[in-house]
């Protein structure tokens, strides 16, 4: 079942709130993780792990480093869940 961008964004907001304490309403597609949301590389790993549980999409470390913005993750999850 394909998820919409909005559904992925909402799920991601919950994850980021839980992992990094960033309120979900600040998690918008154009935000960068490092500069805008102050999320470091270890928190990104926790987000990737939580995303795997929530969306059923694995984000390996070598892919994770290329995901700079919230929209990048949304695109990745959408692409991967379609191909899966």
């Amino acid at each position: 079942m394909a998820m919409t961008d909005q559904e992925i964004l909402e799920g991601l907001g919950e994850i980021i709130d839980e992992v990094a304490g960033v309120p979900a309403d600040q998690v918008t597609p154009d935000k960068t993780f490092v500069d805008d949301l102050d999320i470091d590389s270890l928190s990104m790993v926790e987000i990737a792990v939580a995303a795997q549980d929530k969306f059923g999409v694995e984000i390996p470390d070598d892919q994770l480093k290329d995901l700079k913005t919230v929209q990048d993750v949304i695109d990745y999850v959408r692409r991967s869940s379609v191909s899966a």
Binding site: D40, S41, L42, V45, E46, D61
Partner: protein, 321 residues
């Protein structure tokens, strides 16, 4: 052939810890490598660590911690018939550390061996000590985790020099006659040799290299099931744990595992803040300090969880003396 008769169970009689005198702060490291106090605290949770003197050996630290545990146990050196030193940083491979430590503590001709399961070493060795007592292979065991990681660190590598440190922690393990008094639960252990290249020393002149992100991912996803299984096998509900003392690898790993364990009452060890990552020494060192401060009541159940290079991991529930 006759076989040994063992004890009904084993328990930890006493703890002892030792830290080198020299305190190295984050600011001191930031003077020589590109890092900062804020960066180190937020990424690994360390404020300061202890580093051994140039002439201070793994055996010296093991003797200091082992002597304290022995004294606290009320036993005499003659009561100990097995000495195990868990270490991955001995000065040399031959001779082993354990026999020298035994001699210096006045323990006469015990079985003596070193065990290397890196940061899981203490929990591996505790399982072996418990089994030795239960099978009658040993009466009382002195078990020491001791490390001088500082001599295997590239002090210009900011990803590792901020983490690793030196120290030792020890326990005395002895028999009980009533199984209800047993204080070392079944070990849940394992390894993942396919991840051997995630934490390693390339050769005998090399230094520790760690793929931090990969280790972090593994530690925060693979270990909480091990921790839960150790509780299950001991028949202890995580909700009833008085403390959770995992290897002090990185405070964020410690906290992530604790969150997933679901043990809201348990005091979670955070000794890494002032001790750094001391590999096989970290669990007994943390526990000895928590017990000194009176933070855990006698007889209370505590979950231990060691993990690190290998990859090796092991966990068990104990009751504290």
């Amino acid at each position: 052939m006759r076989l040994t008769e063992g004890a009904a169970g084993a328990r930890i009689l006493a703890f002892g810890g030792y830290q080198p005198a020299r305190v190295v702060t984050n600011d001191e490291l930031a003077a020589s490598v590109d890092t900062s106090d804020e960066w180190i605290r937020s990424r690994v949770g360390i404020a300061s660590r202890r580093i051994a003197g140039p002439d201070e050996t793994v055996a010296d630290m093991a003797v200091a911690a082992g002597g304290k545990a022995l004294a606290a146990s009320g036993l005499s050196p003659g009561d100990i018939d097995l000495v195990i030193v868990a270490t991955c940083t001995p000065e040399v491979q031959i001779p082993n550390t354990a026999a020298q430590v035994a001699r210096r503590l006045g323990i006469n001709a015990p079985g003596a061996y070193d065990m290397n399961a890196a940061c899981a070493g203490f929990c591996y060795a505790l399982a072996s000590a418990s089994d030795a007592v239960r099978t009658g292979t040993a009466g009382n065991v002195l078990l020491i985790g001791a490390e001088k990681l500082s001599q295997w660190i590239d002090w210009t590598d900011r990803s590792t020099c901020i983490i690793f440190a030196d120290g030792a922690g020890a326990v005395v393990v002895g028999p009980v006659t009533d199984p209800a008094e047993a204080g070392i639960g079944p070990v849940v252990w394992g390894s993942a040799g396919d991840m051997a290249d995630k934490i390693y020393i390339p050769d005998r002149n090399g230094f520790i290299i760690q793929e931090g992100q990969a280790v972090f991912r593994w530690a925060t996803t693979a270990l909480h099931p091990v921790a839960k299984k150790a509780c299950q096998r001991a028949g202890v509900d995580p909700a009833d744990l008085a403390a959770f003392v995992p290897h002090q690898a990185n405070l964020r790993i410690v906290e992530a595992i604790a969150r997933r364990l679901g043990a809201p009452q348990a005091l979670v060890a955070d000794d890494i803040v002032t001790a750094g990552n001391t590999s096989s020494a970290s669990i007994p060192l943390a526990l000895s300090r928590m017990l000194e401060r009176g933070e855990i009541p006698s007889g209370a159940p505590v979950l231990l969880l060691g993990f690190g290079a290998g990859i090796c991991y092991a966990g068990q529930v104990i009751t504290v003396p």
